[in-house]
Subunit: 83 residues, 2 copies
């Protein structure tokens, strides 16, 4: 069965996010002043062929740990749906 | 009241995603072969001060249109939660 994973990979909370700061400044320059903290990461949509949702989750978790996320500086979360 | 927006900005469906192809190849090289199509975009977490959820949505939509998303090549979706 085919599953689609929606993965968010964000900088860990303690890690500084200069990109986020730059975007916040940019928004304020556009007079969108009500914006506070901005954090920027990656969103990955990934198709997985698996026998069960459990197996699909295992595959996505392995993919995150081995390639997609830098576990020293990033944290990842994901949701999975059958399609 | 403070709201947190979770924004996903992805390449439009017709747009080629070389980054996604490279990640797919990388996963296959790690023998994670059950992975099919991979699409990579940005995930932005943004705090907004607003009188209502409706106002917060307006602010986030404006931020996406004016700065965060390149509407020629990207599409954006977001969810908002009061904190």
């Amino acid at each position: 069965m085919k599953y689609v994973a929606e993965i968010d990979i964000m900088p860990q909370k303690e890690i500084l996010d200069p990109q986020g700061k730059a975007v916040k400044l940019g928004l304020h320059n556009l007079h969108i002043d009500s914006v506070g903290d901005v954090r920027i990461g990656k969103h990955i949509r990934l198709e997985v062929e698996a026998e069960s949702e459990e197996k699909a989750k295992e595959t996505v978790d392995t993919a995150c740990r081995q390639l997609l996320a830098n576990l020293i500086m990033e944290e990842y979360t994901f949701s999975i749906q059958g399609v």
